[in-house]
C-alpha cells in the first residue's frame, strides 16, 4: 500500500516557516487533542501503570511490592521430564498419550497453560468457521430474491442483542432435558448431549454461541464488499467461459481480499480476548468454581486473568498475563501482515 505525500510535506520545510502553516497546524492539534489526551490518559497511562504492576506483588489492598520478573517466571517455568515417555505402565495397564504427556509437561503454573490451550482451541475453530459462514451468508444475501431486506434483518438481529442475553438464551437451548437443540437431536435418534456440563462439549458450545452472535456482523461487512465488486468483471469472465467456481476464486476472493484480511485480523484479536460467554456460562453453574466450566474447560486466558486480578488478589500476576497477551496479539498480527498482507489486492492501486 502506498501513501501519497500530503501537500504540506510536498512543500518542504519552507512551508512550516509561514505563520499561516503554523496556525493551521496548531488548529489541527487543537482539534485532535481531546482524543490524543484521552488516549494518553486513559489508554497509555493505564498501560504504563499495568506494566509497572506486572513487576510487583500487588493485592490492590496494600502497596505494590517490587518482585522483578517473578510473575513472568512463574508463567513460563516448565519442568520437562524427558524420561517420562519411557516410564513403565502400571501392571495390566497401558500408558495413554495423555499419561505420557502429563508426565512430560509439568509447568509451575498449569492453569496458565490450560487457559492458553483453551483460548487457542477457541481461536483455531471460531475464526475460520466465523469467516466461512459469514462469507457464505453474505453471498446468499447478495442474490436478487424477494424479501431480501427481511432476510438481511433476520441475520443481523443476533448481532444487536447483548452477548450476555444471547448466552443465557443458549443455556436454555442447550439444556439436556428441556433445550430445543437436544430435543431436535434426540428426535432424530441422537443421544442426550450435555453441552454445558461435559468438558468435551463446552468449548464447541461456546463457539456455537459466538458464531450465532457474531456471524451477522461479519456478514454485513462481506456483503458491503460483495456489492462493491463491479458486475462487469463477472460479465466479462462469464463471456470468457469462466464457471461459478472460477469467478468466485479469481474475482470474488481477490476483490474481497482487503475485507478478508481485516476480518481475520480482527477475528483473531477478538478471539484471544473471549470472556463474556464463558463468564456467563460459568456463573450459570451457580458457584465460583464453575466459573471456568467443567474441569476448567472454559478457563480462557482473559477469564483466568480476571480471576487472578479480582477474585484471588493477584493483580501483579494478572498484569503480567495482560502484557504477555498483548505481545502475543501483536506478534500474531505482525505475522498475519507478513504472510497475508502481500496477498491483499487493493483495487485502487490498479
Amino acid at each position: 500500500m502506498r501513501f501519497e505525500k500530503s501537500p504540506a510535506t510536498r512543500l518542504g520545510k519552507g512551508f512550516w516557516r509561514s505563520r499561516l502553516a503554523r496556525r493551521e497546524a496548531l488548529t489541527a492539534y487543537a482539534f485532535i487533542s481531546p482524543w490524543v489526551i484521552g488516549f494518553l490518559l486513559f489508554t497509555i497511562g493505564p498501560m504504563i501503570f499495568s506494566l509497572y504492576i506486572s513487576f510487583t506483588d500487588w493485592d490492590i489492598m496494600t502497596a505494590p511490592y517490587f518482585v522483578g520478573l517473578e510473575n513472568y517466571r512463574e508463567m513460563f517455568s516448565i519442568d520437562l521430564d524427558w524420561n517420562a515417555g519411557g516410564e513403565p505402565a502400571p501392571e495390566g495397564e497401558a500408558l495413554t498419550f495423555k499419561d505420557r504427556w502429563d508426565a512430560f509437561w509439568q509447568p509451575e503454573d498449569d492453569k496458565y497453560w490450560l487457559s492458553m490451550w483453551n483460548t487457542l482451541y477457541y481461536t483455531v475453530l471460531s475464526v475460520p468457521l466465523g469467516f466461512v459462514i459469514s462469507l457464505a451468508f453474505a453471498m446468499l444475501l447478495n442474490q436478487r430474491v424477494r424479501g431480501l431486506s427481511t432476510y438481511r434483518a433476520i441475520f443481523t438481529l443476533p448481532t444487536i442483542l447483548p452477548l450476555v442475553a444471547s448466552t443465557l438464551v443458549f443455556v436454555w437451548l442447550l439444556n439436556p432435558n428441556f433445550g430445543l437443540i437436544n430435543a431436535v437431536i434426540q428426535g432424530l435418534g441422537g443421544p442426550k448431549m450435555r453441552f454445558l456440563s461435559d468438558a468435551k462439549l463446552t468449548k464447541p458450545s461456546v463457539i456455537l454461541i459466538t458464531l450465532w452472535t457474531g456471524v451477522g456482523n461479519g456478514m454485513i461487512i462481506f456483503l458491503a464488499g460483495l456489492q462493491s465488486i463491479p458486475e462487469e468483471l463477472y460479465d466479462s469472465a462469464a463471456m470468457d467461459g469462466a464457471g461459478r467456481w472460477a469467478r468466485f476464486r479469481h474475482i470474488t476472493i481477490p476483490m474481497l481480499s482487503p475485507i478478508i484480511f481485516f476480518q481475520i485480523t480482527m477475528g483473531i484479536i477478538g478471539s484471544f480476548q473471549v470472556f463474556q460467554q464463558a463468564y456467563v456460562l460459568g456463573f450459570a453453574g451457580g458457584t465460583q468454581s464453575s466459573l471456568g466450566g467443567p474441569a476448567n474447560s472454559l478457563l480462557f486466558y482473559v477469564l483466568l486473568l480476571y480471576q487472578r486480578a479480582f477474585l484471588w488478589l493477584q493483580m501483579g500476576r494478572a498484569s503480567a498475563m495482560a502484557w504477555i497477551l498483548f505481545i502475543i496479539v501483536v506478534a500474531v498480527t505482525l505475522v498475519q501482515f507478513k504472510v497475508l498482507g502481500s496477498r491483499v489486492y487493493y483495487a485502487a492501486e490498479g
Partner: protein, 470 residues
Amino acid sequence: MASKKLSRRDFLRLSALAAAGAALAGCCPTAEPTTVEKEVVVTQVVEKEGEKVVVTVMAEAPGTEPEPEGPVDIFMSTWTNTPEEFETNMIIIDKFMEINPDINVNVIYSTWNEYPAKVQTLAAGGNAPDVMWVITMDVGDWAARNFLVNLEPYIDATDVNLDDYLGGGVDMCSFDGTVWTLPRDIASRMLWYNKDMFDAAGLPYPTMDTTLADLREQGLELSDPANNILMIWNYNWELRAFLKSSGGQFMNEGGTEFIMNQPVLDTLTWFQALQWEDHVMPQPGDLEGIGDPFNNQNCATALRGAWMFSYYMDNAEFPYAVTAMPKGLGGFRAIDVYGLPTGVSSASRHPDQAWKLVRFLTYDVIAQTMQADLGIAQPAIKAQEAWDAWFASPATPEGAQDFVDSYADGSPQLPFVPGTREAWSGVVEVAINSVLNNEGSAEELIPPAVEEANGILAQAAETIERLKER
C-alpha cells in the same frame, strides 16, 4: 511581543507530561489504614433481661477524627441478587438513619458473584466503602492484608458482649484470634421439602432423624428421572458439611492444609452414584437455566437457608415445610454455620460512624428483630425478642423449630486463611465437581487437587509473612 506558538514537539511533550501525571495519580496506593488509638469514652447504658438485650444509648467509640458538623455520609457495600432483597435491607438502613440523623448511609450493592471485584476495585480507586459485608471466605485474607479494622477496641469500649452471639458466629468473623467483623446474621442450611411430592409418593415427611441414606432410599421410590422428578436437588452445595458428617477430615484444624481422607473420598463417590447410578439427584447441567428446581417442583427436597423464607413464601405454589439438615453417612449431623460478617474498612474516613452502623446491624435488637420480622435473615444474637419475631414472621415455614434445635450441631465452615478462595474455588471444588460430573473417580481426581491446593495455601501464607515483614 511575538506570541510563542506551541510546536508539535512541545505539544507532544505536554501530552506525555499529562499522561505521566495521570499514571502517577493511578500509582498512588490505597488510603493508609487508620489506626484506633484514641482514648475510649464509654457512655452507653445497657440492660440485660435474661437473654434479652436492650440497648438504649450508643457508646462513643474510639476514632481518629473529630466529629464533623452536620450529617456524615458513609458508604456501605452489600450484595443482593434481587431488587426486593435490596429494598428490604434498605428498610433496616432507613431505621438506622432515623435513629442516627447525624449519619447518612449510602448503600453500594452488586451481585454476590461480583462482590469481591466490586469492593476491591473501589478500594484500588481510593473509594473503599466504610462498612462492608464480607464473604466468609475473605475474612482471613482481608484481615491479614489490613483491609479491615480490628474491632476489638470498639467492642471493649461499648456494650457489645460477644457471648450474646449464637455459637460459631464470632469465630466465623475472626482471624488469627482477633475479631475483624461481626455477624449480621448467623445462618445455615435446612432441609426444605415439598409435602405434595412426598404425599404423592406415599412417603413420610423428613424429620430430625432423617439421614442421607434414608433420603436416597425414599428417592428411589419418589424419583421419576424420565419426567425430571427427583428427590434431591442441591445437596452438593453443602458438601463440606456432609463430608464432616461422614466422619471424614476435610481440612486440618487450622485450615492451613487440605486433608481429604478416605471417608471424604467415599462420600464423594456416594454422591457421584446418587446422580449417575441411583438417578435421584439431577446430573450437572440437567436443570440449568430453568430457575429453582425446588420451586418448579422438579425436586422434592432442597438445602436452602433462612434467606429464602420470603422468596418461597411469595413464589412456591405448593405446601412445604423445613426440618434440620439430614444426618450424614457417619450417622450424625454436621451443620456448616454461615452468616454475614460485617466490618469496617481500614480506609474509612469515618470509622466511628461506620462502627455505629456495624454495631446496629449486628447487635442492636431493633435491627435484629426487623430482619427476622421481614424474613430476610435469622438473628445473630440470642435476644428472645428477635427470635420471637423470627418465629412469628409469616415467612417462617413450618418446622423451623427443628432447625433451631439442631443448631447445637453447628460449627464454622472452615477457619478460612489467606489463599482459601483460590485453593477452594479454583482447585478443590473444581475437582469435586469433576467427580460429581462423572469425569473420573474421587481417588483419581482429588489427591492431585489437594496437592495443588496445599501449594497455594503455603504460597499465600508466605505472602502474608512477607507482608508482615514489610
